[in-house]
């Protein structure tokens, strides 16, 4: 073998020794114009990890705030300081109940099916009835279940909200003052959901929607104070809650009739001008303006609430001979009031984001996208109850995976406004609904 052969052999073997693994070349996340030295998260239960109608440790871990904080750490921020609930506790709902999980339930007809059931007979009050405040290690997550906008300056909030009571410096401290004491350099504010939920979840029977003026004054007061020290921030609009599974799961025409039922109902209701047919029919609901019997068929655009007692529907003629009460229905008028008000609140929030030069998260758009359905890395997401993958079992608050998608909406808005490059989270890493 001569020299030339040797050279060619060398070339041949050198090719074989080439590195075989592709190298990772990702740009480092940057904070852009953000000052991440002190970040706080402000909102209601959605911010704090309330889900499956309860607050517990596992929910707090997967809260909107905690997921966001995890990504902020990638640009140099400290981990979130959260008023943790004991990890062994079953947790508690705003009404004192235990959170929900998916299990088997037997209905009045003896049919066993998958249904949300409570983790325990009652919630764990001890998980929230003691103060966890520590002056040396102030909380950065103010995700307070049930929190409304007009409560930021309410000096007796601690008395009515145990979730606030356990984390405040003293029972008389106003929430707004607690927040200002943090002297945050960046804040994220998602507030207003609870202000519209009470009306919506009561089927429009609780006239608790703030007036536009009230809302505007309270909102601007909060934003003005939070930005007074030059802090940057992100504001989030309020979603159209009527797109959530709590309001969209029970079909308006879920009354299924056979021949004999059709005859009976027609003989009863035909004089009022209501007609029934074989198969799917609209439920009967209470409406005092409808006729002297204050009863009419529900319209296709009107919504039945998840609070509707289904056993009464299945076994006790509710929605048929006994019309569904107002508290279980958002009728056309109520929906129009609700949506109109949310729209005007949101107009103001958008205006505030402009006035105070803050990032704006279009929660309303995000919740609409979920309602329309989308695919994310091979997973279909929608607002279908249980199977949609985004909402927790209460039909209102997002589950961990839904929160992760919501967090990505925040990250996109913040990156856009402040020229940062905070990476989004892999939402599929977070839990959806767990099945037995």
């Amino acid at each position: 073998m001569n020299k030339r052969h040797f050279f060619l052999l060398t070339v041949f073997t050198a090719l074989g020794l080439l590195s075989c693994e592709p190298k990772v070349k990702s740009p480092l996340p940057s904070k852009g114009e953000l000052d991440v030295s002190k970040i706080i998260f402000i909102g209601d239960g959605q911010m704090g990890g309330y889900m499956d109608d309860g607050l517990k440790y596992q929910g707090q871990q997967n809260s909107l705030a905690n997921i966001l904080a995890g990504q902020f750490e990638l640009i140099g921020s400290n981990p979130a300081n959260i008023p943790w609930i004991n990890s062994a506790s079953v947790g508690i709902s705003t009404t004192g109940l235990a959170p929900l999980h998916l299990g088997y339930k037997t209905d009045c007809q003896g049919t066993v099916s998958l249904s949300p059931i409570r983790d325990a007979s009652t919630g764990d009050l001890s998980s929230i009835n003691q103060s966890c405040y520590n002056a040396n290690n102030p909380f950065t997550v103010f995700g307070i279940p049930g929190l409304r906008l007009n409560q930021f300056t309410n000096a007796s909030l601690a008395g009515i909200n145990p979730f606030y009571n356990r984390m405040c410096a003293s029972p008389n401290t106003r929430l707004l003052d607690e927040l200002l004491a943090q002297n945050a350099t960046f804040f994220q504010l998602y507030i207003g959901l609870e202000d519209v939920l009470d009306y919506a979840k009561s089927g429009g029977t609780h006239e608790t929607l703030p007036s536009d003026l009230q809302f505007q004054q309270n909102y601007e007061q909060v934003v003005q104070n939070l930005t007074a020290n030059g802090a940057k921030g992100a504001l989030a609009t309020i979603p159209d809650v009527s797109q959530m599974p709590y309001f969209t799961t029970i079909p308006w025409n879920g009354l299924t009739l056979d021949n004999s039922n059709v005859g009976t109902l027609n003989s009863i209701y035909n004089p009022l001008g209501y007609y029934f047919q074989l198969g799917a029919n609209p439920f009967m609901m209470v409406d005092s303006t409808a006729n002297m019997f204050a009863v009419r068929q529900i319209q296709s655009t009107e919504l039945l609430l998840l609070s509707l007692p289904l056993d009464s529907v299945k076994c006790n003629q509710m929605g048929v001979l006994f019309p569904i009460r107002d508290e279980f229905v958002l009728d056309a008028d109520e929906l129009s009031v609700l949506r109109g008000r949310i729209q005007s609140y949101n107009d103001f929030i958008r205006q505030m984001a402009q006035t105070y030069n803050l990032a704006l998260v279009n929660t309303d758009q995000f919740i609409s996208n979920v309602a329309d359905g989308f695919t994310y890395n091979g997973v279909s997401m929608s607002s279908k109850f249980v199977s949609g993958g985004a909402y927790s079992l209460d039909g209102i608050y997002l589950n961990p995976r839904g929160n992760a998608h919501f967090a990505n909406a925040f990250i996109k808005a913040i990156n856009q406004k402040y020229h940062s490059t905070i990476p989004e989270v892999n939402a599929n890493k977070f839990d959806g609904v767990r099945f037995p």
């Binding site: 070339v11 090719l15 998958l114 091979g378 109850f385 767990r434 099945f435």
Partner: protein
């Protein structure tokens, strides 16, 4: 009324994403000498591997010959998700394309005839992604195997013109796995495995024409082979509450392997240097939909049709051989192939891109009967895409290294 919690409302469509073989999984390792020259050699009769490259060229074989070869593929893919900037890797087992050729040169009055049997693996691959990777609900593992068995005859019409053709029986298997986004009470995700055996038929025909002493032309056509899976097994691991929505059962599917039309040229400059050039037209257009038909459908498990929309492509291959001595020959070459995968259709099983590659090779002739060949193939490619079906949005970077050897015996 309808029970709103009935699990029948679940609609986890198993959007099956079994893409089969892209250019990426078209395996062009059917002859070590050709591999050394950029995988070209349609216009040459190099050895018994011409039974694959051009059955017409085999008509010019002077001797009977047996040729055994293997080319392990070391392939690595890195995926970087654009939104999260997280990266994930494949953990592919070593690919094992092989070929075995036997050529019998007839004697005396039958002298223009030769018969051959070719066994080779022109398509196939195994892609295994790391556990819990971001695309786990699109694909976790895909293993495809296709072995072609090709009895062939060749006929030398004149000193210049040879023709040949073979019938192809293809036996194969497919195994596709992915996670299903449903979780049990412990948080474990569901899993789907589709496995089946496939069979298909085709042919391979070619002509070699020696224009003059130095210059030759070859033309081959390897037909489409439609691999059908008839009684595949679909196995689902899901939470108990959902087991009736994901019934284990059988499925059927079809995987078209495209036809390849090749025009080859060869030029012998002198005793030492030979140059070859191949132009391929691969009719990937046949692969426009991937459908799975489940024997038992439920609201959660419907038959799927995934658009693939592959485009037919050209590929160019070329190389040179340098005969250094009686015993030693050295080769080098390279090629370029366009990707059949259009934007919006790149999948984790075919992270395909326009591909540029380089090869090198050598032969050692021990004696009149025995000779050995070796080759090396290297490629690197990168493709960024957002898949329309799964919305997987990121960049695939692939590196593949394929060293091969063969053993030849002539008599």
């Amino acid at each position: 009324m309808k029970s709103f919690l009935n699990i029948s409302c679940l609609s986890f469509v198993l959007a099956a994403a079994l893409s089969s073989y892209a250019q990426g999984f078209q395996v062009n390792f059917q002859g070590q000498k050709q591999q050394g020259m950029g995988c070209a050699g349609t216009a040459l009769n190099v050895d018994a591997s011409s039974l694959f490259f051009n059955p017409g060229a085999s008509a010019f074989a002077n001797k009977s010959e047996v040729n055994l070869a293997g080319t392990p593929i070391f392939a690595h893919v890195l995926y970087t998700d654009s939104a999260t900037q997280t990266s994930y890797r494949t953990q592919n087992p070593v690919g094992t394309p092989f070929s075995a050729y036997g050529l019998y040169r007839c004697k005396k009055s039958l002298e223009p005839l030769s018969f051959g049997l070719a066994i080779y693996t022109p398509f196939g691959s195994t892609v295994q992604w790391e556990p819990n990777w971001i695309g786990r609900f699109a694909l976790t593992r895909l293993s495809l195997k296709a072995i072609f068995i090709q009895p062939t005859f060749s006929y030398r019409i004149s000193e210049r013109l040879g023709i040949g053709a073979g019938f192809v029986i293809s036996k194969g298997s497919v195994n596709l796995q992915k996670d299903i986004p449903v979780q049990d009470s412990l948080g474990n995700y569901g899993h789907a495995e589709l496995a089946g055996k496939a069979i298909g038929f085709g042919y391979n025909a070619g002509i070699l024409y020696h224009v003059n002493e130095r210059f030759s032309m070859g033309l081959t056509y390897r037909s489409k082979v439609s691999m059908s899976v008839d009684n595949g097994n679909a196995t689902f691991t899901v939470p108990n509450a959902l087991s009736s929505s994901f019934p284990n059962g059988t499925f059927s599917s079809q995987l078209p392997l495209p036809s390849v039309l090749t025009l080859g040229l060869s030029f012998s400059a002198n005793k030492k240097w030979t140059f070859v050039l191949d132009l391929n037209r691969v009719n990937w257009k046949v692969y426009d939909t991937l459908a799975f038909d489940y024997a038992q459908n439920t609201s959660a498990l419907s038959d799927t049709k995934s658009a693939r929309n592959y485009e037919s492509i050209f590929a160019f291959r070329g190389g040179a051989a340098y005969t250094a001595s009686e015993k030693w020959t050295f080769r080098f070459g390279g090629g370029f192939g366009f990707s059949p995968v259009q934007s919006g259709f790149v999948t984790p099983e075919t992270p395909d891109a326009n591909r540029l590659y380089g090869t090198t090779g050598l032969s050692f002739r021990a004696n009149e009967h025995f000779s050995f060949d070796a080759s090396m193939y290297v490629t690197r490619m990168r493709r960024s895409d957002k898949n329309l079906e799964t919305q997987l949005n990121g960049t695939f970077t692939s590196i593949a290294l394929a060293p091969g050897i063969s053993l030849n015996y002539r008599w």
